[in-house]
Amino acid sequence: MKVSILRRKTGIVGAMCLLLFLTPPYVLAGSAIPSLDKTVGTIGESFQLSIVIEGSLDGDVEVPEIPDVTTTATGSSTQISWINGVYKKEVSYNFILDPQKEGTYTIPALKLKIDGDWIRTQPLTFQVGSGGTANQADQDERLPSVFIERDFSKASLVEGEPVVSTVKIYHRVELAGIEAVGEKLSGVRVIDLKQYKTQEQKGPYLYNVIVYKQVLIPGKSGQIHLPPFRIKASIVMPREERKRRRRGIGDIDDFFGDFFGHAQGRVVNRTISSEAAILDVSPVAENRPKGYRGLVGNFRLKSDLSQTSLKVGDTTTLTLVLDGVGTLDVFGKWNLDLGPNIKIYADQPQNEEEVSEKWGLVSKRTFKFALVPTRSGDIVLPDVVISYFDPEKRQFEELRASLGTLKVEGGEAEAIAGQAQEAPSVAKSDVRALATDLVDMHRTIPLEKGQALTNGDYLLVAGMVGTPALLSLVVFLFRWATERERDMVARRRSRAFRTFRNKKEKLEREGREGVSDALAQGYLLFREYVGDKFNQQGSALTLKEIESILSNSRLNRDITQKAVDLLKTLESWEYGGKTLDQDQTEWMGIIENVVREIEDKC
């Protein structure tokens, strides 16, 4: 009985084992297991959430928004194993959670589609305490690797009073590509100061610190809400941390990491923020004295005159130096009035600003005025008075500078001093030569007329050059055509005799059948010669026309007459049937002689 029961049990277990062995891997259902590296922490600590997915995930893992918790995805890692012929792939999706407040937080269940099935993960809960109950050593141990602290040189201030904001970015891991994600502050002037790096010991850790200072000058009263100072940065995760987080596959990865030289760690992008802050800004007291120009702080005023004895029309330089703690932005242009006997020409003021840890902003503005007396005698200059509001004493203070008396002698320029329009001490050329300040602004600018090259310029230039070029071309072509015509006439004229002689010789060489025919040809040659010589087309000229041409030429009367007589005789012979008294060969000689005589004379 016992043996049969044992056999039956063994058979069932064996069958189950066989079934399990024969079941292919894809039959195994997928899974999603979330885990936190810790469930209790304090503000400033980060929690690492890992969601390990087994199976084929459809889509991506997204953690729903948790109020007061900043969630940053830090990427995923894959673990592949092949144990006893079973292939297993796990993908771990990693997130860093930064709680902003103390309390209990719940990471809601995630709905994920794995291997075609919807799977819900278990919700996770973690607690964030203030850390007050923990001892200092524990708190220090839990200091994050990167955090930002911000403080101000004073918490309450007066409208227009500068305050220094110091932002310290603490990091004990390597940071790269830091970028401030600043929200523009309205109603606050912000002066960025130089950044510097230092190191500070915080608890057991030595932090590298980037110190970034700004001077904030509120332009209005009330509560100014400053948003958290945020930076985006790439954090190089330390190798140890990475190894700890990626359990099991560290050795192989380290081997390849070392081999390929990227063993320092993995880079994750994070946004790090400081806490938000509020500045209480009080308004300046209402009982503002006359001449108050919005200065808030603690200032002093110094004056200096380059010379107190001068001639009418000469220049003395008044230097007023206003300096102290606070901004001079609101002061603007100083329109000095020293009475009707002094012409004043203001130079461009020189500004200097320094930032001090103790005072915030220390400003200095130097005003220079060229004073030109327009009359002789002693001119008593009035005191220069300005006011400012002292935020420490909570009252207005007056600054007074005594300028003294100018002793002015009469000079050549006295008569015309009143017409002086420009102060020599502030001429641009002087400023350029002295090189102690910027040359003043350009005040007249033709805004619609640019100085860069445009397509319009090219068109204008084409027009400028093209128009006379085209005109020149037209005239040139006309002149060329005329010249060519003239050349052709001259060439025909110069070749007239040669043509005649060549044709006559050819006529003789060919040996016409009858002498009569040769003379007829000779007659036509003579007419053609006259046409060529005197620029007449063709040989069909009437006798009258030939006579007119010859009479108007430079030939003398005898030759003209001889030629006309010859033509009349030959015409009578050719067309009138008149007989010739001489041998026709001799007539050919006569034609040639007449042609030669014409040629000699023309």
Partner: protein, 264 residues
């Protein structure tokens, strides 16, 4: 349409664009005189972007930047102004004044045998040379035209001579256009210059605020630069100010962002 006409009749003619710009210029100058350099910078920037490029606008913008304490941007603005009006003594004086306050003792123009030979490259703009050539060409052709018309040999000789000069001026314009340089300046207190376009490259040297350079190539967020002494490297765009001045208007190509030096 009827509403538009009625509105036009009631309200009168809207101010023209030119009037608006002149008004902005006046506002900018007043703000500068009153020490409100934020406003003057903003307005001059706006004018430089919206108006045809003019050296005086960049000059005024440079003055505003300097008063605000942004020396790098001031140098860049003066360099842009100089490229438009190279012989303006005010621009040269202020550029020299602000540049002298920088840490890097770098020249604001390149010196070489080529530049010595073509000295006029630094003293004239391509536009000036083009118009000079055009005026020469125009005069030369007019003289040739008259010589043909009046049949005067002397006019022909003069015309040919002037035309030859015009051709030389046009060649100078072509050279000037080819070798025109775009200058910029560093705006951060310290800016690392890398061997390639990326922070992973080697830092070859460092520049400081106001250091002038010639823009060689721009690639995404990086600018390949060349200094007056011939050194080359890559700067992150966020560390530099380069003013482009297209005919229709220009302005600052990039605004500065907080980018601390590397190796922290």
């Amino acid at each position: 349409m009827l509403r538009f006409i009625l509105a036009w009749l009631v309200l009168g003619t809207p101010p023209s664009l030119a009037e608006t710009k002149t008004s902005v210029l006046s506002e900018a100058l007043i703000a500068y005189d009153q020490g409100d350099y934020d406003t003057s910078t903003k307005l001059f920037s706006q004018l430089a972007t919206q108006s045809p490029a003019h050296g005086s606008l960049y000059y005024n913008l440079g003055n505003s930047y300097y008063r605000r304490g942004e020396k790098g941007k001031a140098v860049a603005a003066y360099l842009a102004a100089r490229s438009l009006t190279p012989r303006d003594p005010d621009i040269r004086a202020n550029l020299k004044f602000v540049h002298a306050q920088g840490k890097d003792n770098l020249a604001t123009s390149r010196s070489s045998f080529f530049r010595m030979m073509f000295f006029w490259l630094d003293w004239s703009t391509p536009k000036e040379l083009l118009y000079f050539a055009a005026m020469g060409g125009s005069l030369g052709f007019v003289l040739l035209f008259l010589s043909l018309l009046l049949k005067r040999a002397a006019l022909k000789v003069w015309g040919q001579g002037v035309l030859l000069g015009s051709i030389l001026a046009f060649a100078a314009f072509t050279v000037s256009l080819t070798f025109e340089e775009q200058w910029g300046a560093v705006i951060q207190s310290t800016a690392p210059v890398f061997s390639g376009p990326g922070a992973s490259n080697t830092v070859v040297f460092e520049l400081h605020e106001g250091a002038p350079f010639v823009v060689d190539l721009e690639e995404n967020d990086w600018v390949r630069i060349e200094l007056a002494d011939g050194k080359k490297g890559w700067l992150a765009r966020a560390n530099v100010a380069i003013f482009s001045h297209s005919p229709q208007g220009g302005g600052l190509e990039e605004t500065a962002q907080l980018v601390p030096p590397r190796n922290q």
